[in-house]
Symmetry: C2
């Protein structure tokens, strides 16, 4: 089972400002540009999206649930139940990530998509991530929520492909070396 | 006058481990590969290298002074004199970086090369950097000395070019938007 990261960061490695804002990302590039940076192609290969509680709360504030038709697991040690408005849209997992990954693998899933800094960091620390597609936005924001965090040891990667877009976004795909 | 960054970082944004080690960088790629990632072409355009005290001390521990023929300024508020073995090789500046940049510009220099995390961060905070060439090594090291730091505000960049090398190193060149 592939466990995949697909995420955008500032050049200084942040996925959001400290308050969660992604204005710098939404305003980057040409907002009329229909380029989706491979997202729809990627998402078509995904069987389940795993996100943390922070991302889940952010997504619930959106006018529309953006993951219709996608299985979503919310990783949280503190949530006990899914809020009413999200019932049928998302399921809960208290982790740890090793157990969640084993469960989804046993169900025969081909690919899970892990989203959010803390979730990505948990899966990386557990040695579970298989591949990462990281899109660098040409801006420095100075502080924010980092994509990466501390690790028990180095993680070597194989570079698969890099694409630069007219917007200045640079997307690199890596596989975690086994 | 161009004020340029040319540096390698881990995918998680570190230029060295916390103790200064760059083993992860030296061991990356094929050590027999003669590829220099554009360094000699870049250095041929440089009139002066500006580094911090940490980099200066690191370089003095090398068996040979690697910057023969290059003007070197060491930026330090704590050093009062250049050590005997480096006299004639490097000069001191107590900063601030705005004054150093003004002095070098007044001397008619075309390009200065700023090296080391703290030095790069000081020049970025002062809004003085004109362009950055960043080479991403395909490894996560989890912790270390970061290339980037806090900023007084966002810095927008123009992406100029990205090259991926057979070693998996990905080099992107940016100009700071004026």
């Amino acid at each position: 089972m592939k466990i995949s990261v697909f995420i955008a960061t500032s050049l200084d490695g942040f996925i959001a400002r400290l308050n969660g804002d992604i204005d710098w990302l939404l305003n980057a590039g040409d907002t009329n540009d229909p380029e989706d940076y491979g997202y729809s192609k990627f998402i078509a290969t995904v069987d389940c999206l795993v996100m943390g509680r922070n991302s889940f709360e952010k997504v619930q504030s959106f006018p529309e649930w953006p993951y219709a038709g996608m299985r979503v697991v919310v990783l949280s040690r503190t949530l006990n139940t899914i809020p009413d408005q999200a019932v049928g849209k998302a399921e809960l997992s208290a982790g740890p990530v090793e157990m969640l990954a084993a469960k989804l693998r046993a169900e025969g899933l081909g690919r899970i998509y892990i989203d959010g800094g803390k979730t990505v960091q948990s899966f990386l620390r557990a040695g579970l991530v298989t591949d990462m597609t990281i899109t660098r936005i040409p801006i420095l924001i100075g502080s924010g929520l980092p994509l990466f965090g501390e690790l028990p040891g180095d993680i070597a990667l194989d570079h698969i492909e890099t694409k630069a877009f007219p917007s200045g976004f640079v997307q690199s795909r890596y596989e975690v070396r086994k």
